[in-house]
């Protein structure tokens, strides 16, 4: 057993580290062989887990594959190392204001939101215009300097920080709102605009941004677009693929691709902007965005409801769709374990102190007519109370209560991790058929016993589970970690789910794409990447490693 594991380990490193010497024409890593071994190994791995208790040394040797690439990836030596010439050249492009070499600032920019991933970039650039971005990329391409496009650095999969010494190109200085059409609601702005700033700007005009998420105070629209962020109201406003009307993107060779159309309908040729939405900065750098924004409707109601079991939650979703219909704007859930940790660490109080239920739902309605919405909500509440689907609940009576309820739901992103309040949190963002969604949580709880706390919350209306496992610290050698990966991915794949519903693959899940995509699909993705970024300088080691 030992020998086979070691052999597989060695092969894996070889396939991973550099591109195959035989295929010198392509710079993409040939990991097809790696993928095969991964599959074979992970299947036998599951058998091993069933028979042998975790913690045995040889098992730890064997699990070489199944851990995230962080411990296995080697710096691609084809990328140049920065020298003084380069820094001088960049300084000429962005000016002294746009060049950051300060140790403290770099430390922050090199570390991700979860404090799980840390790069060692020696240089951060803050371009002030698309032209500057174009010049940066053109030069970087010619010198083969790897770059990481960065926005608000709120990503959860290590996609926004360098893995090694890649140069960080932060779009934060490009934060102007270019135009807003008050009739059509079409907003055009630069990629570095902070989401909350855009929403406030729109609110003054009676509109709202169709995307909302916990990170809104820090995240930038360029990053949101590049990760196809889903957020809290996807159930009502749809995804960015539908709301983004146009993009301006800078390609790896410095070409500025102007697809900044602000037309609601434009069926002329291939809709290339869709490629960049969700590409996580690996195909091009988004510099400008044109968004269709909906009307900001005045009547908002939020209910915080307690359910006994997961089946009730599912039925609640059906009832909500039936009774609330077009005014339903959010359907979120949080389980009691997650809620307990929030209440312990965030200073909020329990909205339903007498309820000791396992599941809590946050349901929001947004509409144009308060009395109409209140009536719908009252009917809905009466129905679900009579049917016994809901044991207790409260409806927010004013804006303060509304924001309190939302803070509770968003605390797992906003307060607990950045303040280190939940220890090391392993986050998994999965799309699972709604009926099976919570089974994974219960299975994991059993597997892990008391070794770590498993909490769950998420966008139940979209079938999106945010699974969080809280441990004392990040230690991929800890025996319990074994029980999590790759089990979570395999279970999700077996139930035809997605290993990344909305967070993206980034660095953390770069090796996991095959759990949710066929080999042919991944192969075509590699070809597109090779075509658009032949030198592989855009956000390397990420998405499809």
């Amino acid at each position: 057993m030992n020998k086979r594991c070691t052999l597989l380990t060695r092969l894996s490193i070889r396939a991973r580290s550099t591109g195959d010497e035989e295929n010198s024409s392509s710079t993409t890593l040939d990991t097809s062989r790696y993928t095969f071994f991964f599959h074979e190994f992970s299947l036998s791995f599951q058998n091993l887990i069933a028979r042998v208790s975790p913690g045995k040394k040889w098992l730890e040797n064997c699990r070489a594959y199944s851990v995230p690439a962080s411990s296995k990836v080697v710096r691609d030596e084809r990328f140049a190392t920065l020298d003084d010439q380069d820094i001088k050249h960049f300084s000429g492009i962005v000016g002294s204001k746009g060049l950051v070499v300060d140790k403290d600032e770099l430390e922050v920019a090199n570390t991700d939101w979860m404090r799980k991933f840390k790069g060692s970039a020696q240089l951060l650039l803050r371009p002030q215009s698309s032209n500057q971005v174009a010049e940066i990329l053109k030069y970087s391409s010619s010198r083969r300097i790897a770059v990481v496009p960065q926005g608000g650095n709120t990503g959860l999969v290590g996609g926004s920080v360098p893995v090694f010494d890649e140069v960080i190109v932060n779009l934060g200085a490009m934060n102007s709102i270019i135009s807003f059409d008050e009739v059509s609601g079409i907003l055009i702005c630069e990629a570095g605009c902070i989401l909350e700033t855009l929403d406030k700007f729109l609110a003054d005009k009676g509109f709202m941004f169709p995307l909302d998420l916990g990170a809104k105070g820090s995240c930038q629209i360029g990053g949101n677009v590049s990760t196809n962020a889903g957020g809290l109201r996807l159930i009502r406003y749809g995804s960015l693929h539908g709301n983004i009307l146009g993009l301006e993107v800078v390609l790896s060779d410095g070409t500025i691709l102007d697809m900044l159309s602000s037309l609601r309908k434009d069926n002329t040729g291939y809709d290339l902007k869709q490629l960049f939405i969700g590409a996580e900065g690996t195909l091009g750098v988004v510099t400008k965005v044109a968004v269709l924004t909906p009307q900001k409707l005045p009547s908002v109601n939020v209910g915080f409801l307690a359910c006994t079991d997961y089946t009730s939650c599912q039925k609640m979703l059906l009832e909500a769709r039936k009774h609330l219909g077009e005014v339903l704007s959010a359907f979120e859930f949080i389980d009691s374990f997650a809620l307990d940790m929030v209440l312990k660490h965030s200073g909020h109080r329990h909205p339903l102190p007498d309820a000791k239920e396992k599941f809590y739902l946050l349901i929001e309605t947004t509409g144009s007519n308060q009395s109409h919405d209140k009536e719908k909500l009252d009917n809905f509440v009466e129905t679900v109370l009579t049917q016994g689907l809901v044991v207790d609940g409260t409806i927010a009576q004013d804006n303060t209560q509304i924001s309190n309820f939302w803070h509770i739901r968003e605390a797992w992103f906003l307060q607990l991790p950045p303040l280190g309040k939940a220890g090391a949190v392993y986050k998994y963002d999965l799309s699972i058929p709604i009926k099976d969604l919570y089974n994974l949580v219960e299975i994991l709880r059993e597997r892990l016993g008391g070794l770590a706390t498993v909490v769950a919350y998420g966008h139940l209306g979209d079938g999106n589970l945010h699974l969080n496992i809280s441990a004392p610290d990040y230690d991929e050698k800890a025996s319990f970690f074994f029980q999590i990966e790759p089990f979570v991915y395999e279970w999700t794949a077996a139930h035809k789910g997605s290993v990344s519903a909305e967070h993206g693959l980034g660095f953390m899940k770069a090796h996991a794409i095959h759990y949710s995509r066929s080999p042919e699909t991944v192969e075509l993705m590699r070809k597109m990447k090779a075509m658009l970024d032949p030198n592989g300088i855009l956000n390397p080691y990420k998405v499809i490693a």
Binding site: L352, V381, D392, Q397, D398
Partner: protein, 221 residues
């Protein structure tokens, strides 16, 4: 329309007094236009027994003295033993109504309450007040007027079963005329202005530039 936060604390205190068995009924009162009904419903959803709505044409003409006179009229018909108010309204920040109505009724008053305890015989109330020097503890004969301060309690969320029950609770409507109160405009608002907008800071690129601006623009030295 949301309830004035201090009034919400007053409602919560009233409910706690009732739950402790020291009161038999909690009545919530609001004065103004139709939006008041929503606020009263919130009070009922929290657990109050019934509501009283004094309808006036225009809420903005209700200054503290008018409110105090209307309350005085309501008190004479309702005969409550305790009148609980928020210490002030957050729209005008007057902090006058509680004191004025106590004066009109000739009742003892305890304002800025941070703790309220009704005696066992329900004849008096002991109130801890937040004053500049610290906490002042006073005892009042009932009936009395108490105004609530921030630290008195944390108001409960209205739960669904109570929200449902609240729909069946009654809200009685009265007009100032029925109460024989003439609402005079004893105060005239001359002007309401925002404080001057804070000027945005200026980012400087170097210490030299900072010194230059301090010397030549801010004229600090």
């Amino acid at each position: 329309m949301s309830m004035n936060p201090f009034c919400e604390i007053a409602v919560e205190e009233a409910l706690r007094i009732k739950e402790a068995g020291r009161a038999s009924e909690v009545v919530v009162v609001s004065m103004g236009g139709e939006q008041c009904v929503e606020t009263i419903r919130t009070g009922l959803a929290m657990g109050a027994d019934r509501g009283l709505h004094v309808i006036t044409q225009d809420s903005s003409s209700l200054f503290p003295l008018a409110v105090a006179k209307l309350l005085q009229a309501l008190v004479s018909s309702e005969q409550p033993r305790l009148l609980l108010l928020g210490k002030q309204a957050i729209d005008d920040d007057c902090n006058q109504t509680g004191q004025m109505v106590a004066g009109l009724l000739g009742w003892p008053q305890a304002t800025f309450a941070s703790k309220v305890s009704i005696s066992d015989d329900k004849e008096s109330v002991c109130v801890e007040r937040e004053v500049d020097g610290g906490i002042e503890t006073i005892q009042l004969q009932l009936p009395a007027v108490v105004t609530a301060d921030l630290r008195l309690n944390t108001p409960r969320y209205a739960t669904l079963p109570n929200i449902m029950k609240a729909k069946k609770k009654s809200i009685q409507r009265v007009t100032p005329e029925e109460l024989n109160v003439v609402i005079g405009s004893d105060l005239e608002v001359l002007e309401v202005t925002e404080p001057p907008k804070r000027k945005a800071g200026v980012m400087v690129a170097s210490v030299d530039e900072l010194l230059d601006k301090l010397k030549n623009e801010a004229r600090v030295f």
